[in-house]
């Protein structure tokens, strides 16, 4: 089953708006909280209150600094989780078939009961989307909250990944990127959504909306004075101003 399925019509994924993400890490812990008690083994932590705390997270927010040729430097917050690639190298390398891509919607999952924890899938992933849980010895990754998005025990509005539901700034969007008319596809088209590391040939489903062009204030023309206060004096200025009432 590590053979990839034929490309599905439905390609569920995330669209992440880098112009809006304020880097609050809400998605990081909402993901941790949901997946700690949901799909598969808990997301363990090691040395939780000690010198080198280190745990399994399926979603992490990086921060980058971009210094353009002209104008001030910018900080960009960059959430990253599994991109559910169409051409997922993590799937084909798996020796046991634990790693698979769903034919139905393209979600890439790990069947933990078949995972031997060899780590090769994590090596094959260019994006750092897979983390081997140190307590369970199995590979953990974003499930796109497959146990939420179809969950009939949840109200319809909540059938969305935990990270999307919690994102305060609304920088995360979930939907079918295989449907060109879906809200997420339209957003990608409108904002020029990009793939990460396209040269890897992984064909990620998730898209990133780049930051809009920044620091254009100086292009604004200054205000014209009401009149020459030096010449007309304060009284003249006041007259002119109040003429408008």
């Amino acid at each position: 089953m590590t053979a990839l399925p034929p490309p599905s019509d439905k390609k569920l994924g995330l669209v992440i708006d880098l112009d809006t993400c304020v880097g609050c890490h809400a998605c990081v812990t909402a993901c941790k909280g949901w997946n700690d008690q949901g799909y598969g083994a808990p997301l363990s932590d090691q040395d939780a209150w000690g010198a080198e705390p280190s745990g399994t997270f399926l979603n992490r927010v990086h921060s980058y600094e971009v210094t353009p040729e002209a104008g001030p430097a910018q900080i960009v917050h960059f959430p990253k989780s599994c991109l559910h690639c169409e051409n997922a190298p993590c799937v084909t390398v798996c020796p046991t078939g634990a790693s698979y891509k769903r034919a139905e919607d393209g979600i890439v999952l790990v069947n933990e009961s078949a995972c031997i924890g060899c780590g090769l899938c994590a090596w094959a992933c260019p994006y750092g989307a897979r983390e081997l849980d140190q307590a369970a010895g199995v590979m953990k990754k974003c499930t796109l909250c497959v146990d939420r998005i179809y969950n009939e025990n949840l109200p319809e509005i909540d059938r969305t990944p935990a990270c999307v539901r919690t994102c305060p700034a609304g920088a995360r969007h979930f939907g079918d990127l295989g449907d060109p008319e879906s809200a997420v596809s339209l957003l990608v088209a409108e904002r020029g959504g990009i793939e990460l590391m396209p040269e890897q040939g992984t064909k990620p489903v998730n898209r990133y909306l780049p930051p809009r062009r920044k620091d254009r204030l100086e292009e604004t023309a200054p205000l014209a004075p009401l009149l020459d206060i030096q010449a007309s004096g304060f009284a003249g200025w006041l007259d002119r101003l109040l003429d408008r009432i």
Partner: protein, 929 residues
């Protein structure tokens, strides 16, 4: 080959039960759904129905599960058995603990109630704790606003009857240009993130004015990396540009502000006050008749250009000042670190949105003068500010300048502009004045905190006019200290200035660490003894849920519950959870029971109130009046029919006013832990002047009669203090403060150099702190998830300094101020004001605290800037203790800090390093609670 996918249950049962309550992972107070499996918390998510967060939740909120199970939770009352600060405690029973507290406090109340001081930190029950302190009779009560952001609150209330954060918000659904000032983007965090998201989704623009480009400023379309402490100057330059171009809303100013009021210019004790009629109403000149009439006369058209018996309007005084060359962009550019071109461009963009992109809501409304307006006209530019602009010694005037800017543009309480959240707007004169008159065995004469209208409201003792409060709040040093000065309590008590106290009770305030300036010296003060070998502060009672650094310095520790194990109410009597369209309040309730011998601090106060026989806490025959805090929440009435919670009163249907309802808490629980009443359609904007809103506010119990008022561009109470300094008042300031009062209590916004600038050339850099969005003060480090995100805090250094010092990744530096030096790890940041260094606040921990292992990175690499900041300015040799505070409000001037940096070899750990304190709780077992 055929593919076989594993069978997958895509509809697993989510949990056994969902209990809805209010978050307390920070001050935002979002609604949360707490999922339980087998009686234990399994997952926490945002409550979609909640007015504050509408389903979203931040990193802290989602990590609550690791807080309520953290190993740092205190387990039983503690009595100190070793020297203070040694961490030697014995566990005692609650009976014993309450007995000790009663034995300490009862004699004080009977003889000298002022010797008991009660200050609270991250308290969300201030209407209750202040009521308790008032009943006790001590004048010494306040919460933490004095070291947090009283400048922001007080400047807003004195200027327009409300400020940012809990008081008001931009009209997120309509604003097109959002200008955000100030570093430290914490307060109101989820609503701001949601709001910025909405603006971005609409394609609106966000401009950030902030020395540091993180967080909200990272997504800002334009970033103005201003020099700290100069925001006021930039704002006044914007006002200069707008006035010069005539881009101010003269109609708005004439109708809704005191711009048309006349300033008395005759020499003498009235000079600079507003001309008033016999009833005390400010006068304006009616353009139709030329007559001087009260401002609220029906049909009046106030004349901004009027002159009356030689007296000119506020508008003319103001315009003349700000049109002056001192405020021209060229004059301020270098000082602000912002080019004149950019200042002009910012003014132009603001003016363009305000005046060329006006919006309207087709909603008629009637103003307080009786005039009906067909529609609600809006100017879709909005402003907001964070603590940064206010945590300077010029912060009050800076915050006022920002409010005046909004008012000049006519963008306050209009569609697309800034909107108040009920129960605001509420002008300063509708708030109480401060009360400080104490007598043995009697309650205080009124609420401690308030808004002085003149020197007659200062908290001075009646006999010798010395400060009545231990924190010297409401004195000539800081007349408008509306939130008290928590940061001065320990230093003043130890100095015996203005007097000594006996017992200090603190709640959730980490004063021996990140909540104090001058941390090292405060630790020393807490353990300092007098000549008799007694502690200078003889007794300290502390309540906290967690093993914070402060625990070691208490004599009696009252362990609080976590937020999921307690009753609370976030009341309209205090800082409620309202949004612009809703009045709302909320509760917490024990969604899980404590597994330790701990009690909610408010319930403990109820118990103590009964034991001490405090009025309001005992029945007429002296029996305890309330069983616990929940009982108080339901049955206490502040005024007849008005209690801590405004929903489900009476028989369950009454809102705002109504008899106590014994089922009220259950009704709140059933409703999701909150109650929200929507502001009626016609009342949603122009609230200070809108009859529909005023009548609704009275019906809700916010106040008892309509309170329409004018925005105070000219702040008359400040002028009254100036007049006193000029010799015109029966209460006179000490001579050494006269000139400062004259200079800083200017009734029109001014900018002056922050006092910290006196440090001079030897300390060329500004140093700031801010909280990361994923941490709340010191709390986050005990959380196994959050501490992985922020386990250490580097000092971020701008490129210019990075290169000059030859820094490389992994380097360390010594950072020195006039108050001391620290040695810390550095990191490079280009998106930073070139003369500013900064770090994340309160990541650094003392070894042994918070149940972290002593080699935790928080304790070895994490650091506090607090060591560099003193609560007092350097000695001037004049015999006076000058506090490092705003001279208007006393707000701690954290961000005045000036420093020098130099590269040093990496030490073993960040300096200063303090010896570990023994933990009052056992170390964590394993990696999961």
């Amino acid at each position: 080959m055929t593919r076989h996918e594993p069978r997958l249950d895509t509809s697993p049962r989510v949990s056994d039960e969902v209990r809805r309550t209010t978050c307390y992972m920070c001050a935002c107070r979002c609604g949360i759904n707490v999922h339980l499996k087998s009686g234990k918390v399994s997952y926490i998510e945002g409550n979609r129905d909640h007015p504050v967060n509408k389903g979203v939740l931040c990193a802290k909120g989602s990590s609550g599960i690791m807080q309520v199970t953290a190993p740092s939770r205190l387990r039983k009352p503690l009595r100190r058995v070793g020297p203070r600060g040694s961490g030697a405690f014995e566990e005692i029973s609650w009976d014993e603990a309450l007995g000790i507290a009663t034995r300490w406090l009862a004699p004080l109340r009977a003889t000298a109630p002022e010797k008991f001081a009660f200050f609270t930190g991250r308290d969300q029950s201030q209407s209750f704790t202040s009521f308790w302190a008032q009943a006790f009779g001590t004048p010494n009560y306040a919460a933490h606003g004095g070291f947090c952001s009283v400048n922001m609150a007080a400047a807003g209330i004195y200027t327009m009857g409300g400020a940012f954060w809990e008081f008001g918000q931009p009209d997120w659904d309509r604003t097109r240009l959002f200008v955000l000032f100030g570093v430290a983007e914490d307060h109101d965090s989820n609503p701001i993130k949601m709001g910025i998201g909405k603006i971005k989704a609409r394609g609106g623009r966000v401009i950030g004015v902030n020395p540091i480009r993180t967080g909200y400023n990272a997504v800002a379309d334009d970033w103005i990396g201003i020099t700290p402490g100069t925001d006021g100057l930039l704002i006044l330059a914007l006002i200069h540009e707008l006035l010069k171009a005539g881009k101010v809303d003269v109609d708005y100013l004439a109708r809704w502000t005191n711009a048309a009021c006349l300033i008395d210019e005759t020499e003498g004790e009235e000079k600079g006050l507003l001309l008033r009629d016999d009833l005390g109403k400010p006068l304006v000149i009616d353009r139709r008749t030329g007559d001087a009439v009260p401002y609220d006369t029906a049909g009046v058209r106030p004349d901004l250009a009027a002159t009356h018996r030689g007296c000119r309007t506020v508008f003319q005084h103001m315009a003349e000042r700000y049109l002056g060359p001192d405020y021209a962009p060229e004059a301020v550019a270098a000082r602000c670190g912002v080019s004149a071109t950019r200042i002009r461009a910012l003014a132009a963009e603001i003016a363009d949105v305000a005046f060329n992109q006006t919006i309207a809501i087709e909603q008629p409304w009637t103003d307080f003068r009786g005039e009906t307006h067909e529609r609600m006209l809006g100017r879709p530019v909005s402003f907001h500010a964070m603590r940064g602009i206010s945590a300077h010694s010029n912060g009050f005037q800076t915050a006022r300048a920002l409010h005046v800017l909004q008012i000049l543009l006519g963008t306050v309480e209009v569609p697309g502009g800034f909107r108040f959240k009920p129960p605001y707007p509420k002008p300063a004169h509708a708030h109480p004045t401060p009360h400080s008159y104490f007598m043995p065995g009697r309650p205080l004469d009124g609420p401690h905190l308030g808004f002085p209208q003149g020197p007659e409201h200062l908290a001075l003792k009646l006999d010798d006019l010395s400060p009545a409060r231990i924190d010297r709040g409401f004195t000539w040093e800081n007349p408008l200290s509306a939130h008290g000065l928590m940061h001065m309590v320990i230093p003043n008590a130890v100095a015996g200035d203005p007097y000594r106290i006996d017992t200090l009770m603190l709640y959730m305030a980490n004063m021996s660490w990140n909540s104090s300036m001058n941390t090292g010296q405060v630790m020393e003060m807490l353990t300092r003894k007098d000549g008799n070998g007694d502690y200078m502060i003889p007794r300290i009672i502390y309540s906290d849920a967690y093993a914070s650094e402060m625990v070691a310095y208490a004599d009696l520790v009252l362990p609080d519950t976590t937020y999921l194990e307690r009753h609370d109410c976030i009341s309209l009597l205090d800082r409620p959870i309202c949004e612009a369209d809703h009045a709302a309040d909320a509760i917490r309730w024990p969604v899980v029971e404590p597994d330790r011998d701990v009690r909610g601090f408010q319930s403990v106060l109820v118990d103590l109130g009964g034991r001490l026989g405090l009025p309001g806490f005992v029945t007429d025959d002296g029996r305890p009046k309330y069983r616990d805090y929940a009982d108080y929440i339901v049955n206490h009435q502040r005024r007849p029919g008005v209690g801590p919670l405004f929903g489900f009163r009476g028989h369950g249907k009454e809102v705002g006013r109504g008899a106590p309802n014994p089922n009220q808490i259950n009704a709140y629980i059933a409703n999701g832990g909150f109650y929200a009443a929507e502001v009626p359609e016609g009342a949603k904007f122009f609230k200070p002047w809108n009859r529909a809103y005023q009548d609704w506010a009275v019906s809700m119990g916010f106040y008892d009669t309509p309170q329409p008022y004018l925005f105070q561009i000219y702040c008359e109470p400040m002028r009254r203090f100036q007049l006193a300094a000029e010799g015109f008042h029966e209460r006179q300031p000490p001579d050494f403060l006269r000139e400062r009062i004259k200079a800083t209590m200017d009734p029109l916004p001014i900018w002056y150099e922050p006092f910290g600038e006196a440090a001079g050339e030897a300390f060329p850099l500004h140093a700031l702190t801010q909280r990361p969005m994923a941490m709340y003060h010191s709390w986050g480090s005990q959380n196994a998830w959050l501490r992985q995100i922020h386990g250490v805090n580097p000092l971020y250094v701008p490129t210019k300094v990075w290169q000059a010092q030859g820094f490389r990744d992994g380097d360390w530096a010594r950072l020195s101020s006039q108050n001391g030096a620290i040695v810390v790890p550095v990191a490079h940041m280009a998106a930073l004001n070139e003369d500013t260094v900064w770090t994340w606040n309160a990541i650094g921990k003392r070894k042994g605290a918070w149940a972290l292992s002593p080699d935790a990175p928080e304790a070895t690499k994490g650091f506090l800037l607090n060591h560099l900041i003193s609560e007092l300015l350097p000695e001037r040799g004049d015999g006076h203790r000058w506090s490092n505070s705003d001279p208007v409000t006393g707000q701690a001037a954290w961000f005045d800090l000036r420093v020098r940096i130099e590269k040093v070899p990496p030490p073993d750990e960040a300096q200063p390093a303090y010896p570990p304190i023994p933990s009052p709780v056992p170390p964590a077992k394993g990696n999961r609670p």
